[in-house]
Amino acid sequence: MSDDAGRPDAPHLAVDGLVVRFPIMGGVLRRTVGWVSAVEDVSFAIPRGRTLGLVGESGSGKTTIGRAIVRVNRPQSGTIRLGGEDLLALSGEELRRRRRSFQMVFQDPQSSLDPRQTVGQILAEPLRTHGLPASGERNARIAELLGMVGLDPRFTSRYPHEFSGGQRQRIGIARALAVEPELIVCDEPISALDVSIQAQVLNLLEELQERLGLTYLVIAHDLAVVRHLAHDVAVMYLGRLVEIADAEDLYAAPAHPYTIALLSAVPVPDAAAERRRRRIILTGDIPSPADPPSGCRFHTRCWLRDRLGGPERCRTEIPVLAPPDPARPGHRAACHFPAEARAAIDPATLVPVARETPGA
């Protein structure tokens, strides 16, 4: 999966300083009374043909980033470059035509397919929109697309309700592939599916990437899903990136207390280690992005801060995303105390070494 061979030079997708805020309307006059800070100063890059897993709990802003990249949301500031071209500078007809190169696979295949269209109509839409193959060959292309996602080409006259969840997601993937995109944003592609078919869809995505050289941004809410698919992993909390690293690095040596907490929720295959493991239960709910905590946004729920006796710095100073280990500049974490975080955990189980229950 994540080998170091052939790391391409320039990033394919580069997101820089992305800020997305939604206005809160209030009063009779519907004036803006505040802002929900959904995404705050997020930067990352994905090399061509590779996968970045973007992980965070609901409300962390991960979906908002995905939607900003496919130009459904309008970011307040920042840049999004695909193959060097600034996507945010596009508009109107030019944007419409460029949409071919970045597509999206949606979380819920039930609601993202028009219930009144047949599979053939659903797949014909992107082809028609972008004038793809000369109309005579369109049916052949639709059959080919269905074959690519492992569906029977005879399905074209069927409606979405006639399919299982996994099959519907395959239709959604085929629709994204129809325009031959370079980048696909997969927004929780398997969260709405039965556990038994999740792996099949992940395998399909992986296989398609190898075959077509696609670049993926895979959005997920747990690290287990992303581990399977991603070369690099970025962890988000409340609109900010808290840690980003090569997948192996992140799973082997997490440096942010939030990442450590997420990892503690992923079961490990070693039974003995699993028995010794204790989960970190984060207390309380994710704070409101309309009124985010000062300093480090995670400080209100941080188990490490409790252990360290509640240092002031967490409350007052926004931590920058920096490599805790200078030897591995690709691994960056936004914590004031990454060394303490690593020292506090057992390297075998990645769980804080025995002391009183953290955060309780």
Binding site: R71, R96, R100, Q103, L113, P126, T129, G150, F155
Partner: protein
């Protein structure tokens, strides 16, 4: 490769789908509808009533207009199965012709208000912005005028008659349809499959035509059906008040109006009761059919089973 990644269960399901268990949206709706007992009962009753109203003038030639002074207020007899009314006209003939008038008024006004409402709702919902604001405020104004006042003013200007009844009922009911259509469009704008089309780069206009309009047909059909029932009731009420069709044209509401005389109400039920029963039957059947349609036309309700 990809095809082999299908699990056995999914492969089996694929076979089923291909093997002809396939069902179009129309057939699925028909299957769901026919399983709805009350709706089927309503449909059968309604079809019977419509058939009688349509065919009776041909099959049993009766005159609902010319008075027969032998039959003045007479109880049911062999010559006049439902007796005669206060002007000596055959009640059965008047009920049948009155039903025709009611059905024409009901269906006609639905056509009028669904057309106006859909047009206004579509323009407001798909254009948004200023057009939306202006159209919806006009809608609000219509909704805030008491219907009876609107009707009386309208009828006193254009005069009574079947055409005016249809027009005025259409005028009273279109705002609800406009709101429904606009609301549906606003909901659909946020639907994931519409977002998916935007991501593909489909033009807004095409999204409205290909995705939004087809998806409001279901709710619109249901509203139109229930609208038929309300319109028939309103027509009866207007005729009852003398604002409906012009006499001597028979109307169910006008027949019931004769029960305003206490002696008729107490002693000559054959004059007004048949009309009342027919109205109740029509309205109930239409409502049952509407219920059935509501369940049958929602493709998300339950997939097969």
């Amino acid at each position: 490769m990809a095809a082999e990644t299908l699990a056995p269960a999914e492969a089996e399901r694929a076979e089923q789908i291909v093997a002809g268990e396939h069902e179009g949206l129309v057939r699925m709706a028909v299957r769901r509808f026919t399983r709805h007992r009350l709706a089927m009962l309503g449909l059968v009753t309604l079809v019977t009533i419509i058939a009688i109203a349509a065919l009776a003038p041909v099959l049993l030639p009766m005159d609902p207009i010319t008075p027969d002074y032998e039959n003045l207020g007479m109880p049911p007899s062999a010559a006049h199965l439902l007796g005669g009314d206060l002007s000596g006209r055959d009640v059965l003939a008047r009920v049948i012709y009155g039903t025709r008038v009611s059905l024409i008024a009901g269906l006609g006004s639905v056509v009028v208000f669904v057309s106006i409402g859909t047009a206004v709702g579509l323009i407001a919902g798909s254009l948004g912005g200023v057009a939306d604001q202006v159209l919806m405020r006009i809608t609000d104004i219509f909704l805030s005028i008491p219907p009876l006042l609107l009707i009386i003013v309208f009828i006193s200007i254009v005069g009574a008659g079947l055409g005016s009844v249809i027009a005025v009922i259409g005028l009273v009911y279109w705002p609800q349809t406009a709101r429904l259509v606009r609301g549906q469009l606003l909901g659909l704008r946020e639907a994931e499959f519409v977002t998916a089309s935007r991501v593909i780069g489909v033009r807004e206009r095409e999204i409205v035509v290909r995705h939004m309009i087809p998806n409001i047909f279901g709710p619109l059909t249901v509203v139109a059906t229930f609208g038929v029932a309300s319109a028939i009731l309103l027509e009866a009420a207007l005729s009852f008040l003398g604002l409906g069709v012009k006499p001597p044209t028979p109307s169910l509401g006008e027949m019931i109006a004769s029960a305003r005389t206490p002696s008729v109400l107490q002693e000559q039920p054959w004059v007004w009761l048949p009309a009342g029963i027919v109205i109740a039957l029509i309205v109930m059947s239409v409502n049952f059919v509407g219920d059935g349609l509501r369940d049958a036309l929602d493709p998300k309700a339950s997939r097969r089973g």
